[in-house]
Amino acid sequence: MLTRLNVTSIYVLDKDEALDFYVNKLGLEKGSDFKQGDYRWLTVRVPGQPDVEIGLEQPGPPLHDEATAEQIRELISKGALSGLVFHTDDARALYETLQERGVSDFTQEPIDHFYGTDMGLRDPFGNAIRILERKTAAATATA
């Protein structure tokens, strides 16, 4: 049987720019970063969650011919590809921190729901990121 999710990937337009955003702005840490020939295996991960990596993949060779890569790039920039969902322990504090770090592409400011507080933003390329502060069982019981 399967036991854990280990790696998931998102497409980005530029690996260096993505690394800067996901580490220096969003607050993830760099996971793997090594080259094999022209290919750079680059991942980021949530601090404290070392066994789940997010691969940052750039469309193009050797995986894609140029026409295919161009189509994927267009879809990224239209926000049409899949995104990432993270948990946080304090959505509003994180919202402030992200703004201080220069993040401005919020799709949704923190909003309270019955299940917690969530917010949304986009990475520099158009990928959607959602961040949820889950309401704890204790908080739900007293609500």
């Binding site: 337009l13 790039r73 239209k78 729901h113």
Partner: protein, 156 residues
């Protein structure tokens, strides 16, 4: 091509996000076009080319989706909901709702209860579909919201 097209798409997406964020406010196409740093006419044309419908129609579907949420989840009056989601008149709201959903807000409310999916999932999952081949043409010139400027360019 490439980076130039992607940068332009990204600006259009930023403008679309601005509509998603501020749907409840009185928006005009000039303000939204300014988010993308383009002229109104160019914005309407390029938005439709990128996303398949005019900005006006996109905003209407966004507002209708939010009204569907409030109809399902709250017992607020239809008039309150209409203004809550950014429509300027009950007549426009009811007509637009019926045109997009195929039934009136009242009958929609009667037929649907609360959902349990997270709000962010509902937001995209419940967005009214664009019928095949009818994208922006369904908007008549009389369908006014504060985004009426988009109508001229929406005509086939």
């Amino acid at each position: 091509m490439s980076r130039e097209v992607e940068d332009f798409n990204r600006r259009l997406l930023r403008a679309r996000d601005a509509m998603d964020r501020a749907y409840a406010e009185p928006l005009d196409v000039r303000t939204i076009a300014a988010v993308a740093h383009v002229s109104e006419a160019h914005f309407i044309r390029s938005f439709k080319a990128a996303f398949g419908e005019t900005p006006h129609r996109y905003l209407q579907r966004r507002r209708v989706e939010r009204s569907m949420f409030l109809l399902r989840e709250t017992d607020r009056s239809i008039t309150d909901i209409c203004f809550d989601v950014g429509f300027m008149s009950l007549g426009t709201f009811s007509r637009t709702f019926r045109e997009i959903i195929g039934e009136t807000p009242t009958s929609y409310r009667d037929g649907h209860g609360p959902m349990v999916a997270p709000n962010c999932v509902q937001m995209w999952a419940m967005r009214p579909r664009v019928p095949d081949g009818t994208t922006a043409r369904a908007i008549g010139p009389a369908q006014s919201s504060s985004f009426g400027e988009a109508n001229a360019a929406a005509a086939p």
